[in-house]
């Protein structure tokens, strides 16, 4: 019985790890935006390799940048929503993406730097 429990726990842990690993954020420089296809092409470097990744945006995906709070007495940053067409090549963004088949599908795009 103990062996079965340990096996189940092992499977759960492995699955959880795989699921978490599958949703790693990707940071990179925006190279191209296709508003019709709702894709953003990023140039990203990881583990010593630079590659271009086409990220597909889910319907309703959030695109935000961070701005200083305008309300008096408030400090810190607040999210400001953007449209996909607001993104520009050269900006640095981070996306929360997961693998779906051979696609990277994102539900959030956060602007790290506008330049």
């Amino acid at each position: 019985m103990k062996g079965v429990r340990a096996s189940i726990l092992g499977v759960v842990l492995v699955s959880l790890t795989a699921a978490i690993a599958d949703e790693a954020p990707i940071a990179g420089t925006v190279k191209a935006i296709d508003a019709a296809a709702r894709t953003v092409t990023l140039e990203s470097t990881a583990k010593g390799k630079t590659r271009q990744v086409v990220v597909h945006l889910e319907p309703g995906a959030r695109i935000v940048k961070f701005v200083r709070a305008a309300e008096p007495g408030k400090t810190g940053f607040v999210e400001q929503p953007l449209a996909l067409t607001d993104l520009e090549p050269g900006w640095v963004v981070s996306v929360e993406a997961k693998h779906e088949g051979d696609k990277e599908v994102a539900d959030t795009v956060k602007v790290v730097l506008e330049r």
């Binding site: 954020p25 940071a27 940053f77 956060k110 790290v112 330049r115």
Partner: protein, 411 residues
């Protein structure tokens, strides 16, 4: 007998140093706090082109400068690094490689000012940060040198340290270099870098050259004008190529004998760490405001006319008083020459380029002529010779040796 003893001693010391260094090479990627997992601080030395970027001492505590840094930090950096420097800015939290916690005093105490300046200037565009996936932008195109220093002065306040961020406040900054120094240099240059190591006196008893005193401002081998400290690149060149002499141990991979071994087999990172430790022995490296170097223009073609003009200059500049008419180091003044420690010093035999301490390539000889050799009777001709004249003299000097003309023309 005396020569044999000297040889045995020098060779034994060289081998002992090499064995000690090979047996326990010091780490250059120490990460006892696990900071590299959490953030993107890699414990690596700044590359040579940034090694001389040291913040002037008073700036670390200059409140106006810090306020300027705060303004820039708040506008450009806080979104990732956080308003408090905790690395938890909203944009930073979304990055695969999280920004480091700038409040960690222990971690910050290991980061040198030139490392910070390099990091802010180049961002994640350079290795090892690029390979790790750093999203840090390069700010050198957007922030002036002063603005970058201002941001660094401000971010330094997160660590809680109040004084300047320098090696004598944070010995952790040069620990790796110190380990290398203890293994490879201390025997000659001494524990405190005063050139008084236990074997220093036996290398050339009661005569020059003696090991360099790093705490003083006089350095022979420089690309800087007379009276100034060398650049990090100068120190790197000396460590890499060693110092030639008429005797001493042969060095693997390089021709000729050296009174100081060539450490060209030492990994570049370790040589850079060593340089940082050597500089930490002399506060003047943090007190100099601007570094000027002597430019070595491209060498012109060697012609008989140029060599003939060089010969006339050799006489006019009174080189022959020390080096002799035929360059053999036997001029009339040669027996009386002394260095700044009042030790007898020989005039270099110009017919043997392999013994030129500062190197025998045309550009090496040019640099020696123009900067002089501080602490020795060899003056600087930087003010008295035009570059073209200096090249004439270089080619004549190199023509005095058997293979000299070939060496002068070898490019």
């Amino acid at each position: 007998m005396r020569r044999t003893t000297w040889w045995l001693l020098a060779t034994s010391l060289g081998l002992a140093a090499l064995l000690a260094w090979t047996a326990r090479p010091p780490a250059t990627l120490a990460d006892p706090n696990g900071d590299e997992e959490e953030g993107e601080h890699a414990h690596v030395p700044a590359p040579l082109e940034y090694a001389d970027a040291h913040m002037p001492l008073g700036v670390w505590t200059d409140q106006a400068f810090i306020a300027r840094g705060r303004e820039i930090y708040t506008a450009k950096c806080a979104v990732c690094h956080g308003d408090d420097g905790d690395g938890r800015g909203p944009a930073g939290a979304a990055l695969p490689l999280k920004p480091p916690d700038l409040r960690k005093a222990g971690s910050i105490a290991e980061m040198r000012d030139n490392y910070w300046f390099w990091r802010v200037s180049e961002g994640g565009l350079v290795e090892p940060f690029k390979g790790r996936g750093s999203a840090m932008p390069a700010w050198k195109g957007e922030l002036s040198v002063e603005d970058r220093w201002a941001v660094i002065a401000y971010q330094h306040t997160f660590s809680g340290h109040q004084g300047p961020h320098v090696p004598w406040e944070h010995p952790e900054l040069t620990l790796v270099g110190r380990d290398i120094y203890v293994m490879a240099c201390v025997m000659c240059h001494g524990r405190d870098g005063k050139g008084d190591g236990s074997v220093a006196g036996t290398l050339a008893p009661r005569r020059a050259p003696q090991p360099r005193d790093f705490t003083q401002t006089e350095f022979k081998f420089r690309s800087t004008p007379s009276g100034q400290l060398p650049t990090s690149a100068d120190l790197f060149r000396t460590i890499t190529e060693g110092v030639r002499a008429s005797g001493g141990p042969l060095t693997f991979g390089l021709r000729g004998h050296r009174i100081m071994p060539a450490f060209n087999q030492m990994p570049v990172e370790q040589r850079l760490e060593l340089i940082e430790y050597v500089k930490s022995l002399n506060r003047a490296y943090w007190e100099r405001r601007e570094i000027t170097t002597v430019a070595v223009p491209p060498p012109p073609p060697v012609t008989p006319e140029r060599v003939a003009r060089g010969k006339r200059l050799y006489a006019d500049a009174e080189c022959l008083a020390c080096h002799g008419e035929r360059g053999r180091g036997d001029g009339p003044s040669a027996p009386t020459l002394k260095d700044n420690r009042n030790l007898p010093i020989a005039a270099t035999d110009l017919t043997k380029p392999a013994r030129f301490k500062n190197g025998s390539r045309p550009e090496d000889v040019y640099r020696t002529l123009v900067t002089g050799l501080a602490g020795t009777p060899m003056p600087s001709y930087g003010d008295s010779l035009e570059p073209d004249q200096a090249w004439d003299l270089v080619y004549y000097v190199l023509s005095l040796s058997k293979g000299g003309e070939r060496a002068a023309g070898a490019r």
